[in-house]
C-alpha cells in the first residue's frame, strides 16, 4: 500500500485525544495522504483554534518524518534539560506533537521519577521511559519516532560517505521547500491583515 492511502486510524499515534480530532472528523480527513497535503492542512489550520493548530503542526512534522523522511524541525527540544523547561512542560511536549493525555502521562512520569530526572535531557528521559516500559501506548509510539530520528541524525553526522552526502542533500531540499512554503503563507496572511486594516480605516 502506498503511504498516502494509509488510514490514520491504523498508524498508532493518531488518537482522539488530539484537539484537532473533531476537525478531521468534520472535514473527512481520514488518510495520511490528506495529512501530507500542505494546501489542505493550511486550510484546516486557518479554521481552527491555536491549541488545535499547534498540535496539528507538530503532528504533521512527525508524519513527514515517519513517512517522507523529512527532518523534524522541533527536535532541538530533545537536547533541553528537564529542569530548564520545568515551567513550560505543556508547551514543550505540545511542540513535540504529544496530545494532552500523553502530556499528562509525561508530566506524571517526571513527578514519579524524583529530582534527579531534572538534570537529564528530554531525550534521555524518553530513553528511560522506553526502557522502563511505563508510559501509555500513544506516548510510547511518539517517543519511539523521536528516538529513531535522533539515532538517524547521529548516524548522518558521524558518517562521511557519498550516500550520507546524498541523503543530506535530499533533506536540505525538503527543508528548503518547507521554509519557502511557510514564507508564502506568512506573506499571504500579512497581506490579508493589511487589507483588513485598510478596510477598517476606510470604515471610520
Amino acid at each position: 500500500m502506498e503511504y498516502y492511502e494509509i488510514e490514520l486510524s491504523t498508524i498508532g499515534v493518531y488518537t482522539y485525544h488530539y484537539a484537532f480530532f473533531d476537525m478531521f472528523k468534520k472535514y473527512n480527513i481520514t488518510t495520511l495522504g490528506q495529512v501530507l497535503d500542505d494546501n489542505l492542512m493550511y486550510g484546516i489550520m486557518e479554521k481552527c483554534r491555536q491549541k488545535s493548530r499547534r498540535e496539528l503542526c507538530s503532528f504533521i512534522s512527525l508524519m513527514k518524518y515517519k513517512y517522507l523522511n523529512i527532518p523534524i524541525p522541533n527536535d532541538y527540544l530533545l537536547d533541553r534539560k528537564i529542569a530548564t523547561i520545568e515551567y513550560t512542560l505543556d508547551d514543550t511536549f505540545g511542540s513535540l506533537g504529544f496530545p494532552e493525555l500523553c502530556i499528562k502521562d509525561l508530566k506524571n512520569q517526571i513527578q514519579n521519577q524524583g529530582n534527579e530526572i531534572l538534570n537529564i535531557t528530554i531525550k534521555d528521559f524518553f530513553k528511560r521511559l522506553i526502557s522502563q516500559g511505563q508510559c501509555r501506548d500513544a506516548t510510547r509510539k511518539i517517543i519511539e519516532i523521536y528516538l529513531e530520528a535522533s539515532e538517524k541524525k547521529n548516524d548522518l553526522a558521524s558518517n562521511n560517505d557519498y550516500d550520507t552526502l546524498k541523503e543530506l542533500k535530499i533533506q536540505l531540499e525538503n527543508l528548503i521547500k518547507i521554509r519557502d512554503d511557510l514564507d508564502f503563507e506568512i506573506k499571504k496572511f500579512k497581506e490579508s491583515l493589511s487589507k483588513l486594516e485598510e478596510r477598517s480605516i476606510g470604515d471610520k
Binding site: 484537539a19 484537532f20 473533531d22 476537525m23 468534520k26 489550520m45 486557518e46 479554521k47 481552527c48 483554534r49 491555536q50 488545535s52 493548530r53 499547534r54 503542526c57 527532518p71 523534524i72 524541525p73 522541533n74 527536535d75 532541538y76 548522518l156 553526522a157 558518517n159 562521511n160 560517505d161 557519498y162 550520507t164 552526502l165 543530506l168 542533500k169 533533506q171 536540505l172 527543508l175 528548503i176 518547507i178 521554509r179 511557510l182 514564507d183 503563507e185 506568512i186 496572511f189 500579512k190 490579508s192 491583515l193 483588513l196 486594516e197 477598517s200
Partner: protein, 43 residues
C-alpha cells in the same frame, strides 16, 4: 568530505530552527487574522 558533511549538518540544523520560528510566526499571524476578521473559528 568530512568537513563538507559537517557544514551541511550545520546548515540543516539552522534551517530547522528557522522553520520552527517561521511556524510560530505563521501561527501568530493566523491568530491575529482570526481575531481581526471575526471569522467563526472551530474547535
Amino acid at each position: 568530505m568530512d568537513n563538507l558533511i559537517k557544514d551541511i549538518n550545520k546548515v540543516l540544523e539552522d534551517l530547522k530552527m528557522e522553520i520552527a520560528n517561521k511556524q510560530i510566526e505563521l501561527d501568530d499571524l493566523i491568530e491575529e487574522y482570526q481575531s481581526k476578521s471575526g471569522e467563526i473559528i472551530e474547535n
